[in-house]
Symmetry: C2
């Protein structure tokens, strides 16, 4: 595999490039060197990659002349805490990071969110580099600058917008990813296609088997395409400030509210909360959420039965769930109401209109939703 | 006292106005109403104002239709901690703040820094309003968006740049300020004059007695003038990113690095650290630091003996110290080296060139500094 895809995220002085290739971890150090003035780096690695990708990153940074200090964070959402952030502040002071230094995160979304939050707040903000090693992180959480830790009462309640200086996606790191994690990441690829680009969606459908077989060229295109779609939304609405209306969020259009990226997430978050975090993967919950969004849209005459069948078939081909795993509709609806109160604002659903285009609805009724949930196998 | 001074801080979409008047706390609610979409407010008050200014702010917010929840923070630097921030996140969730809500800080710099850090990070950043009730906070910490908590190993190591939506300075709140606190605040006024505006500096010197007698008109001019000077530097260098060179930092000039605001602070921080935080007031330490900076400048032929005598006389008239309180030069120099390492970058001194103009020097030698410290009464 040779070749590198590059996606530029245009955010004025906070612009950066996402690099996507296969087998590119050894080149990380040289790339970081072009973006960071100081020679001290704090390398924050997920426990799951501490014996594999993290040492490769560390030696690449050392070879480029960096004084790189490795800190390993236990895998799992529990590491997204203020306490874990406090341990990283200690580590940053131990290795004498200064305002020109850099924090590099290697691993999945958890370590990216945590290390990014620390980078956003240490000395009022220092440079941050992402090396995502899961498909979900490469496709989704590495772009957009949303960093956060959790509060015991909710996910991502304490955070910032802090754009990375550089994102380095090596699809070869996906070779060691469990199959279910790969599928969960592909759920976000499907989401990207539906909300932003019909031809990308068609590519994911057509190349489902190659993606599951981890064909490097297919994975590179899956990642770069999704990053490009997300970059368009982030560029139009860096801090998620655009209102939902005008509601049409179209790939080529003007009003690209970042909220469109929540396709499948309103129900998805509730499924994660009711099933218990860690019981179901985020991407799996989003897959179920997209099926529900499609059925809501179908019921409103916004979206066709053929498109819905295509969506459900694609998710099945990617070995993703499309039905609710024995959860109660009542509990799910209560969780959604709670989520709405905690996050503030109104409960909004992103609904598909056609492949590549979504709309935002804030008038979905309780009964309308309940019917869809029951249709997906929820208990009463 | 009637009349209101307004200073606009021009920072594009983050622009805001600092309002300075006497007896204006009852009008706070109506002002906040013009800047904040949601009706829920978390009012964070310093313990020192919990029985005086905070209830006045709360009733003004209530009268304007806000659902204002008061939280009192113990006075003192110990409240600038991650643990204190965690308690405010809890309070923010308890009263269901949403992305359109606002945090209002009433009190001195500690509560402003802490509540501002929470506003910067809760739900990735919500609106923030400052109601500073000490002269130091009105003159200095209420403008510029620097918010932070301390780390056990250093002050302000965890923070952000988060501009307030509105700053409401009521000089009548200064009537209850201890005399030494008033003087400490005036040290920052002297600093503002020397680094940015000769006529403002002349006003502070001429009206020293009126300021100490808390004449409302004099205080209003002292606050509004200092805020205007600081706003100029903040507008030119919002995130302290401009290099020190070109070194001339002139009020009307082009290269106004925010670093100029550190006049008196390089030694000042060391004096605070060596004397022990809380032993000496920040403004008092800055006064000593300015005397030292003046003597360094004098030794280099940058600044005249007459200006130095004027500076030392002004500080004395304002009942501020100008000599080192029995600290050792060796300890002070070690603290400065440590500070330099912790904060990264080089040890830089802001030196006066003439009233209203400073320069930044990064080549001050150990012996050169030691001679000045000994001359100010430091022990060996």
């Amino acid at each position: 595999m040779s070749g590198m895809s590059r996606v530029r995220v245009h955010l004025g002085p906070r612009s950066y490039t996402v690099h996507i290739g296969s087998g590119i971890l050894p080149d990380l150090g040289a790339a970081v060197l072009r973006h960071v003035p100081s020679r001290t780096v704090l390398l924050v690695a997920d426990g799951g990659v501490a014996d594999s990708h993290a040492p490769l990153c560390a030696s690449s940074l050392h070879a480029a002349g960096f004084d790189a200090h490795l800190v390993v964070v236990p895998p799992g959402e529990a590491s997204k805490s203020l306490a874990a952030a406090a341990r990283l502040y200690d580590a940053a002071l131990d290795c004498r990071l200064d305002r020109g230094s850099c924090i590099v995160a290697v691993g999945g979304g958890v370590v990216g969110d945590l290390a990014g939050f620390v980078a956003a707040t240490f000395l009022r903000g220092i440079a941050f580099v992402q090396v995502p090693t899961t498909l979900l992180a490469q496709i989704d959480s590495s772009v957009g600058g949303k960093v956060a830790v959790d509060h015991p009462r909710g996910k991502n309640l304490i955070g910032a917008f802090h754009q990375p200086r550089l994102v380095w996606c090596d699809v070869a790191t996906l070779d060691s990813l469990p199959a279910a994690e790969l599928s969960a990441g592909l759920a976000e690829a499907v989401k990207s296609g539906i909300l932003g680009d019909a031809s990308y969606y068609a590519f994911i459908r057509r190349r489902a088997a190659a993606l599951l077989a981890r064909d490097p060229a297919a994975l590179r295109r899956a990642v770069s395409g999704a990053v490009r779609i997300k970059a368009g939304f982030v560029e139009a609405d860096e801090r998620e400030e655009l209102p939902a209306a005008p509601a049409r969020a179209r790939a080529g259009g003007r009003a690209r509210t970042r909220m469109a990226l929540n396709l499948g997430h309103t129900l998805g978050h509730a499924v994660e909360a009711v099933a218990g975090y860690g019981t179901i993967r985020h991407g799996e919950a989003v897959a179920i959420g997209m099926v529900a969004a499609g059925r809501l849209a179908l019921g409103r005459g916004l979206w066709s039965a053929r498109w819905q069948a295509g969506l459900e078939g694609t998710l099945a081909a990617l070995r993703l769930p499309g039905r609710l795993p024995g959860l109660s509709a009542r509990d799910l609806q209560a969780a959604m109401r709670l989520d709405k109160k905690a996050a503030g604002g109104r409960l909004r659903y992103v609904l598909p209109v056609r492949p590549g285009e979504v709309t935002v609805a804030d008038d979905v009724g309780e009964e309308e939703l309940r019917a869809v949930l029951l249709g997906l196998g929820a208990s009463a």
